[in-house]
């Protein structure tokens, strides 16, 4: 699946009530959004910063700032990635993400995915 396809599915999960994923959609949505973000970032870095694939995500987001010429945007995405990871590695006192939070993350990640897609 492409990052855009993952985001589209995530968005549909937020819209659709009932069905087989009752109660599981918040986590399913978070998984797909994080995968979309990671996929888009990897694609940018593969083109702009060869060799960065093996780096950890902290380093990748630092490289992303340089690659897209917008370090603020990269920091914002790193924050979203961190929040998603927090939600996904359950445990401690963390609860799952709310529908509003998820919707916000979908939008923010779409902001980086769309330009990647339009590059072709």
């Amino acid at each position: 699946m492409t990052p855009k396809e993952r985001l589209d599915v995530a968005e549909r999960l937020l819209e659709r009530s009932g069905g087989a994923l009752v109660g599981l959609w918040p986590r399913a949505c978070a998984v797909l959004v994080r995968q979309a973000l990671e996929g888009a970032v990897d694609r940018v870095l593969r083109e702009e910063v060869p060799g960065s694939q093996a780096a950890n995500w902290r380093v990748k987001f630092l490289c992303l700032g340089r690659a897209i010429g917008d370090e603020r945007k990269a920091r914002e995405l790193a924050y979203v990635w961190g929040r998603l990871s927090e939600v996904l590695h359950r445990g401690g006192g963390a609860m799952g993400a709310s529908e509003v939070q998820l919707r916000g993350w979908v939008e923010r990640v779409r902001g980086v995915v769309e330009p990647v897609v339009s590059r072709g």
Binding site: M1, R6, V9, L13, L14, S17, G19, A20, L21, V22, G23, L24, W25, P26, R27, A28, V31, L32, R34, Q35, E38, G39, S85, L88, H89, R90, G91, G92, G93, A94, M95, G96, S98, E99
Partner: protein, 229 residues
């Protein structure tokens, strides 16, 4: 004394008096500002009250359901999800590895609705949850069993952020021994467990192209081994 604890300590004994008209109690977010020992204490108190009264507790904090499960208190734990326009869903919840693997199988059953590719993207992440839950349970059990404080066990868990580190902490007592995890899994569960563990970790980031049913069952075997009897 914190105000929720003060309120409960005044109200619960009064409610339990033989002449009390109250047959149930609803408590809203009682664990905020409580440390982990007090959360355990509260869970025991509520379990005691629940022998003669219905007890309903709302919370945004996972520590109370976690304590209920760890202390093996007979309680029903449900999650409430709110969609747009306040559409509410209530479903069974829990922090046990069994719960997470049940979720993984539930996701597999949604294939007709969402498609195989989506299911294959989601299932490894749910399997990783199950394995991580088993690791956390093992760390808590081992550490509390040897007399560590709750805070120390929680601090040890907070120091590890990756699944491999968490597994090392659970199996080897040291999150820095990630390099020894595969050998331990190979010896304890079998050679396929290593491939399964890698597939779960990698698949959580991008999906899995192999047999999903086999993946879930393999991951569950790993979780059972980690959690022990």
């Amino acid at each position: 004394m914190r105000s929720p604890a003060l309120g409960l300590s005044l109200f619960l004994p009064r409610m339990e008096q033989p002449g009390s008209p109250f047959r149930f109690v609803v408590v809203d977010d009682p664990v905020q500002a409580m440390d982990l020992d007090k959360v355990d204490g509260l869970a025991r108190v509520l379990a005691s009250v629940a022998k003669t009264r219905q007890v309903v507790v709302f919370t945004h904090d996972n520590r109370l359901p976690e304590a209920v499960e760890r202390l093996r208190i007979d309680a029903r734990v449900v999650e409430v999800h709110r969609r747009a326009r306040s559409e509410v869903e209530v479903c069974e919840a829990g922090q046990t590895s069994e719960r997470f693997f049940a979720d993984a199988f539930a996701v597999m059953k949604s294939e007709q609705e969402v498609g195989h590719t989506v299911v294959a993207s989601l299932v490894p992440s749910f399997c990783r949850d199950g394995i991580e839950a088993a690791c956390r349970r093992r760390v808590q059990r081992d550490r509390l069993g040897r007399g560590d404080r709750h805070e120390d066990a929680a601090a040890a868990l907070a120091e590890v952020s990756k699944t491999q580190q968490l597994m090392a902490l659970a199996l080897l007592g040291d999150g820095n021994k990630g390099g020894e995890v595969y050998a331990r899994l190979r010896n304890g569960v079998g050679s396929r467990a290593v491939d399964c563990f890698k597939a779960v970790k990698d698949g959580a980031h991008g999906g899995y192209t192999g047999d999903l049913d086999e993946l879930v069952r393999g991951a569950w075997d790993i979780a059972k081994y980690v959690e022990g009897p």
